[in-house]
């Protein structure tokens, strides 16, 4: 049984199960840099917010999978990932941590812990469940 590193809202159920190295994107400059590197398709993108503009060019150019630390399927990024059919796990929390995202009341350490734990890991997204999306470790 593969290790589930994180779980969150599954935006839409799909048999697609993209795998890649998690890339934490902290700023628009990171997004532009990734696109210009030509390596967009190698990465599962990890972002803090659930808004869509931050990831706009990455979604448009063919991002294969997205993990967010806030937001829900009704958020703009949720709507757009559904339209692009890009598997997306939103408001992901680490399965090995008690820390959870609470709107307007979440310490920076919550986001830092997720970024630190997932960035650079080789993972696969499991989005087959109606409600729960999973970030699964790959060797």
């Amino acid at each position: 049984m593969a290790e589930v590193l994180a779980e969150g809202f599954n935006v839409f159920d799909t048999a697609k199960s993209p795998s890649g190295t998690v890339k934490y994107l902290a700023s628009p400059a990171d997004v532009i840099s990734l696109i210009q590197s030509g390596k967009l398709a190698e990465h599962i993108l990890l972002v803090r917010g659930g808004t869509t503009t931050f990831l706009a060019p990455a979604l448009s150019m063919g991002a294969i999978g997205v993990i967010t630390m806030s937001g829900a399927p009704e958020s703009h990024l949720g709507i757009l990932s559904r339209e692009f059919q890009t598997p997306c796990v939103m408001t992901a929390h680490l399965t090995g941590s008690e820390s959870r995202y609470v709107v307007g009341n979440t310490d920076e350490s919550h986001f830092e812990e997720i970024a630190r734990s997932l960035d650079g890991r080789k993972v696969r997204l499991d989005c087959t469940d109606h409600e729960v999306g999973r970030v699964v470790a790959e060797n």
Binding site: A26, S27, R48, T51, T52, T53, A56, L59, E83
Partner: protein
Amino acid sequence: MTTMENKRSTYQQRYEAADDGLRFQDLTYTGNFVGLEPVTDGIKGDKMMRSRAKSGVLERVSKDDVLRDQFTIDELNDLNNYLAWNIWDVLVMRATEGVSGMIPRQEYEILAFMHEFYRWPEILRMTTDEAGGPQGVMDIGASARREIGTKVNAVHDWCIGAVGFGMGRCGLLALEVIGPDDYIEESNEILKFMQRILWGKRQDGYILNSQDRYRCRIHEPDFLATLTAQVEPLEAGSPKHGAFTQFNAAAELLSFLDHYDCRLGLGDTGPYELPDGNLLILRDLFVNEEVFHWSDVCEDAGLPHAYTLAIVIDPEKMALAEIRVNDISTTFTRPKNYIDAIVGGAVFSREKWNTPMGQVNHIAIDELDDHLERVRAATFKLYSKTARMCRRDLIWNGQYVYYVDMILPHMRLAGAYEKACRDYDLWEIDQRVANYYYDITKRGFAQETVPSKIFSGAGYLPFSDNADRRRSKYRWL
């Protein structure tokens, strides 16, 4: 989609009078009804809110009702409560999305809410005059029944009351610069304008999609027939299906970006039941709004004002259990993924906001590649441009998207936009709101205080039963 095999659609049960619909979320709403049973989302929530109304304003109303000059205090309070629930219903889950990392949306939103509440009343009064009176405003709403690529749509029309009145008043109450009985006459002005536009558009006596089990079936049948005649069959997994759905997604994304990450860039109507049992959603995607100076990159890419997609969904293929076209023009389904159930599509483009319907272009799906490339190029350029803007510019640009664009289509059709710019300083920032810029980041006002009051419903204080409807704000104490 494999899990849906052998299941039948049940969505038509949602239209039976006794049906309460599905729950799309576990949260419940209280608002001004402390001590009563919490209100759910969806069809059941609509029923609960209407059952608590003191007036008949939330039921089907007549043309004479709509033409009346003012709402009573009971009607104002019923609308205030219903809009507050409706805002919660459509936005409470979206509002969990946190910071953008790109555009300070909470900050620009709260400034726009307050600006609208202060400035819109006299602009909407002037727009009503320019339209020839209340009937003219209803005619502007009705124009949407025979058009595509028009911003006279659910989200814009809803925003007049839900945002300009509801959230604007809520924000100013939270900032403690107004009291519950201030600006009653102005509140009436905003809400009457909203009611007239929406009633004229729907023409079934309701004003909101949530009152009609989340349907926005506004287009005339003969007009719809001219669009559905262009629909091409699509098969999930085929290149053509991929071209259509990828274009839909890319154009929708640019519409969001051009409108600063808000839903004013897109508008769904439907679901329309087709003779073969399939469902049609009409989706306007406004990829190039000429009044925004940053939209020059969209102009340079040769993009039209709007693309319109006719999206045909087979409800059996996805075992559709419920479909909602909500009041912010967005379609949600259960099951959530409708893309593989798209079995037909057509694309149209409207060059300018006032291009006559007879000159709207049909684009064959095989010819979408060129449009997709232009949409992608504009998206990247607009993103790069936006990434270089300072925080202040991002906030005020976003503020303009709300404050101007929400009433722009109505002003345009009334012939009032130029007058609003010239004689009413539309694009100026009111000094009160300019000063709030420095207040909203203190004590988490934009990030926590206002969102919590807006989305819990706790901030929509009622007007007093005996309040004077003529009341503005006369005392600053």
